[in-house]
Amino acid sequence: MYRLEEIKRAAQGMWSLIAGLNITGKYFLQPNVTIHYPRQEVDNLATFRGHIELIPEDGDPLTPRCISCGTCAKACPSGCITVTKQKAPAPTPEEVEQGIKPKAPKDPETFRLDFTLCSLCGQCVMSCPADAIKFSQNINIAGYSRQDFYFDLVARLRSRLPKHINKAE
C-alpha cells in the first residue's frame, strides 16, 4: 500500500514538473514587464520616497513654509534633522525710535538633513504642523563622498528656484 502511495506521489510530482515547464514556457513568450532604465522611467514616480525637501509657500517659491518649530527634528528617530532659526534683523532707526523690537522671520536659516542616516520613515513629514516637508522624487541621487549627502534644504530650495520659474512659465 505504502509503495502504491509513493508511486502515486511520484506521478503527481512528474505532472507538476510538466506544469512548471508550461508556466515558464508561457512566460517566455509573453512581453517583458521590465523597462530599459536609463532610456525609460517607471510611471509611478509619484509614490517614490526620495530624500525629504521643503515645500515653498504658496505664491512665494523663495520662502519655505516651514515655521522652524523643530517638531520634525524631535520626531526623527535617526536624529538627522537640525533646524536653526533666523536671528531678528537689527532694528532700523525708526523702530528704535518707536521702541519696537523687530520680529525674527519664521522660516529657518538652515534646515540641515544628514541623508546618510535617514531611513525614509516619514515621521518628519507626518509630524510637521505646517505641512512643510515632502518626499522628493529624485531617483538618480548619487555622490562621491559622504559629505555629498549632507544637505541644507533651504539652500536646496533656493537653488532649485530657476527651474521652478521656468516650469511656471
Binding site: L21, T24, F28, Q30, N32, T34
Partner: protein, 320 residues
Amino acid sequence: MIDPQLLRILIALVGILGFVALNALALVYAERKIAGHVQRRPGPYEVGPHGILQPLADALKLMGKQLTTPRDADPVIFWLAPILCFMPVALCILPIPFGPNLIALDLNLGMVLILAFAGLGVLSICLAGWGSNNKWGLLGAARAVAQNVAYEIPLLLAVLSVAFMTGSLNLATITEGQGTWPWQWNVLLNPLGFIIYFICALAETNRAPFDLPEAESELTAGFHTEYSGMGFGLFFMAEYANMIVACSVATVLFLGGWNGPFAPGWWWFLLKMYALIFLIIQIRWTYPRVRFDQLLNLCWRWLVPLALLNLVYVTIIVKL
C-alpha cells in the same frame, strides 16, 4: 606521407574546437536571453543590438583577467584540471554522426568512446576541487564524484536499452536503424529509456536542477571557486560542450539523428540537438535545485530500478 585517417582526425579536431567555441558563445547568449525572457525581462541588451555581442565582451573580459593560483594550492593539479576538463569533450564529439557523411571518426564502439571520455570530466572536477585547497572546492568535488558515479549507472542502462534494440554501439548504425518518420524513432519505441537518459544527462553535465557541485547558495561556486580568468572560462566552455555532447548523443540514440521527413541531413540533427539544449536551459530556469539526498534517492530508488525494468521491456519488444 601522412596517413589520411590521421589528417582527417586532425582537421576534424580543429573543426570541432571551432564549433565548440562558437557554440559556447552562442549558448551563453541563448542561456542569458532565455533566462531573461522566462523571467519577463530582456536579458543582455546593451552590448550590440539586443546584446548580441555580450558573449564576446564576456570572453574578452575572461581572457584579460589575471590568472591567480591560491596560496597552498597544488599548482600542477590546479592548472591541469581545467585543461583536462575541456579536452575530452572535443574527443567525445569525434564519433558523432552529424550527417550521412559528416562524421569525423566512424567507430564501431563510438558510444563506448563517448562514455569513457565523458567519465574523465568527473576526474577533472575532482582534481580541481582537490587542487585548489579550498573547502568549497573540495565539497563540490566530493558531490560531483558521488553524483556522477551514481548517475552513470542508469545512464549506461538507458544506452544499453538502445544498443539492445539496434544491436550496435556504432552511432551511425544506430542512426540508420531508425526510420525517416518520428514514429520510427527510438523515443517512441523506448520512451522510458529516453526520459531516464535525459535526466541522467542533466546530472552528468551538472546542469540545474542537479548542479550541486557548483551550488552557489551553499558552496559559493563549488569546484571552480578559486579559478579566475580563462581557468574558469575553460570550465564554463566545457559545461556547454558537455551539453552539446549529451544532446547530440540523445539525438542519435533516441531522436533519429540526421533522419527526418523531407531532405534528411545535418540540419535535422542540429535542429533536434538545439531543441534539446533549449529544453535543458528552460529546465534550469524552471526547477529549483534538488537536495543531495533527493538527488541520490532519485537515482538509486527510481532511475536504476526503472532502467532495469526498461531493459526487460526492450528485450521483449526486440523478441516480438
